[in-house]
Amino acid sequence: MKQRLVVIGAGMASGRVLEHLTDAAPDAFDITLFNAEPRGNYNRIMLSPVLSGEKTYEEIVTHDDAWYAARGIACRFGEKVEKIDREMKVVEGANGHIPYDKLVIATGSNPFMIPLPGHNLDGVIAYRDLEDTQQMMGMGPNNKVVVIGGGLLGLEAAAGMAAHGVDVTVVHIMGHLMERQLDEAAGYLLKKSLEDKGIKICLQANSKEILGEDGKVRALLLDDGTELPCDLLVMAVGIRPNTALAQEAGLATGRGIHVDDQMVTSDPDVFAVGECVEHDGEVFGLVAPLYDQAKVAAQALLEEDAAFMQKTLSTKLKVTGCDLFSAGDFAEGPGREDIVFRDPSRGVYKRLVIEEDRLVGAVMYGDTADGSWFFGLIKDGTSIEEMRETLIFGPAYQGGDTADPLSAVAALPPEAEICGCNGVCKGEIVEAINAGADDLDAVRAGTKASASCGTCTGLVEQVLQVTLGDDFQMPTAQPICGCTDLTHEDVRRLIKGQELKSQAAVWQDLGWTTPNGCHVCRPAINYYLLTDWPLEYQDDPQSRFVNERKHANIQKDGTFSVVPRMWGGITTPDELRAIANAADKYDVPTVKVTGGQRIDLLGVKGEDLPAIWSDLNKAGLVSGHAYSKGLRTVKTCVGTDHCRFGTQDSTGLGIKLEKILWGSWTPHKLKLAVSGCPRNCAEATCKDIGVVCVDSGYQISIGGAAGMDVKETELLCQVPTEDEAIEIVMAVTQAYREGGKYLDRLYKWLGKVGMGWVQAQVVEDLENRAALVARFELSQSIYRKDPWAEHVKEKARTYAPIADFTLEAAE
């Protein structure tokens, strides 16, 4: 007969117990699951990304109704368990009793509320569940929020709300943030980056009283007399194991429910897992040990051998743009030595704590790429005597190998942990890959590696690459072409770093294997050189694709298309007459309106180009650059001039932007649009850069596409004035010009650098923004001009044959 299993609490630990149990022995138990929250299991550690808007609740649900149904689990959600009767072996729910053979208690923890006067006021919440998260998500730019607690949870709550424009103040009792995970120096850097995000931080601040008005929170009073007004007060000061039910049932408890190495309580038929337990004097708050416990409990329930062991833990903060890592013990002490590395300009800080030739602790801020390697050294107690000199520079500098991140991953032993959330080690991932999981999704599905918080995704990819070798292609590691082993990124870096200012210098100093490149690398190198050295380097037409050399698009029959520029899509009867006359005069077979609101004259003979341009120039028309890896068009709607919905002069802004940006070269084509209201008639949200005017200003979003890939733009920022909007567009264009890989559209570049980085460079760092704008202007002083007029004047002859024997013969 099947045994009856009752589980109390549908959280992350018990969810994992049920997964292991039903995977290993689907028919071993009749399972009933109680949960006081009216829902099943979701990924609680992903509440922070839900709060900041990076994820939705639906995305973090780990077990939906269908999952429970498929496994035959009877769910009693929203029903509180009143009592456990151990003698009768019965759980008493609010809606009825249910007997058990085995019981798993997974009641989790309760947030600790400091019993300050006023802590019962409306608007004083913890940060624990979906309801709390939703309350925080209800806050907007007009609200003030105070967060008590500068630990992991408090800071994620603060950053999440700040991302929605909420005015957030963090009050922390200690001298620096996250004092359990960080030392003072890293805490300082963290404070600085959070302050850059607009979060106010009060350290060494003692809360005295929560002040209210009509039963609702109004402000927090500190004991130095400071009053911090707020509409919501979030207490994120810690958690306490929820042991009430177990205690009443007479189970042994201390800080948590006592369990042994098999997760068995003082009653052999009752198990406990998760934040409610106490094991060997410790209680648990991070997810990794919870998952370990779940695995052990499931095995013990099936009477298999398993034992839970406590491990050293590492921590990462899920706040975009704050890259920190800490592991082990980094308190100072006798016999302990520090190795410290600082790079103030990049905001990087690394500190290693060494005791008797063993690494015992690591704190890193700003550059955490080597975190898991250091973590491995700590856990394994590896002797670092041999590599002490170069230890701080990470695995790439050990063993004299090249600075290849892959070699670091390849060097990891099979038991090295890759995914801290799910406790997946390298060996398990390699096993899954050898069993046929040949991409990230397959590995994720099979092992759960990188399936929780996702910060180890890059590492998992590297394991894939190391294991599969040539079968797994990391696109970024590809050389530009057969002329070199260097990647686009390498070459860009070296052109700047070594101040290479000519093609010849690139071929020579970077060891090109061909005399002057090929059709793949030459256009890229030409582009990189002209972007980085606009004054020193002379654009080389012979390194351009024919369209950019001849300033017209070649067609399949060798004829060309001619698209005159119409600023912001606005034209005049005179311009239209000039276009019509040119179409007649040069026998243009097709006249078409383009997707970017311009008129295209298709089928012009190559030798007629200078003449038709000259005619168009006379009417004031210039090149529309419809052929370039550069600014194409700025599409607009009519805005306030005519439209009854328009909120700003979208046409005017479009014209201004086009006049500023035209002629500029970019890694790939650059299309813009300006819409006068959120109805978005100019389709700004699928352009490389889109501006949507709203009553209060200009929403600038970037990274859209409507070609082979269709993508919606992501919001970069909203600014109040037209001048600032123009500045932001110039700065982001320049950042893309300077950083993008040749032939990467803006969205691909964005995918590589991340929106957080772009916002930091272009929106938040005003000095940097101004520098980008200045560099763009400098470049435009050379390139903001009409190539048609120039070619008519200086190069017309080259469009004709060098010799024409058909004429001679005809004479």
Binding site: G558, P801, T806
Partner: protein, 110 residues
């Protein structure tokens, strides 16, 4: 073999090309990064792309339409593509480009 003067070498850009029109079709005159010229049919055997509009690199040219690459010494397509272009004798004499007369006047092509 008789040679026809078609122009000065400086009229063809370094790593570039110019076109010669004849009754039997267009001929592309290519110049490499040196004072060195080649002549070949202007039309790519693949889809007829105008080779004189291509990128010249080393002693090769890449067709602008679909990136076929041809060796200008032999006319053979490089890499995975199979095909060849006709190469015409051409030489330099005191900076003047001289093209073999047969390329211009041969009538059999019709």
């Amino acid at each position: 073999m008789s040679w026809i003067d078609i122009g000065h070498i400086d009229e063809v850009p370094l790593r570039g090309a110019r076109l010669v029109k004849t009754h039997i079709g267009c001929i592309a005159v290519f110049r490499t990064a040196e004072a060195e010229v080649f002549a070949a049919t202007n039309s790519c055997p693949h889809k007829g792309g105008p080779l004189s509009e291509g990128i010249v690199h080393g002693q090769s040219v890449t067709c602008p339409l679909h990136n076929w690459v041809f060796d200008l010494n032999t006319g053979e397509a490089q890499g995975a593509d199979a095909g060849r272009i006709t190469i015409y004798p051409v030489r330099l004499e005191e900076d003047r480009i001289l093209l073999d007369d047969s390329a211009v006047t041969r009538r059999s092509a019709a």
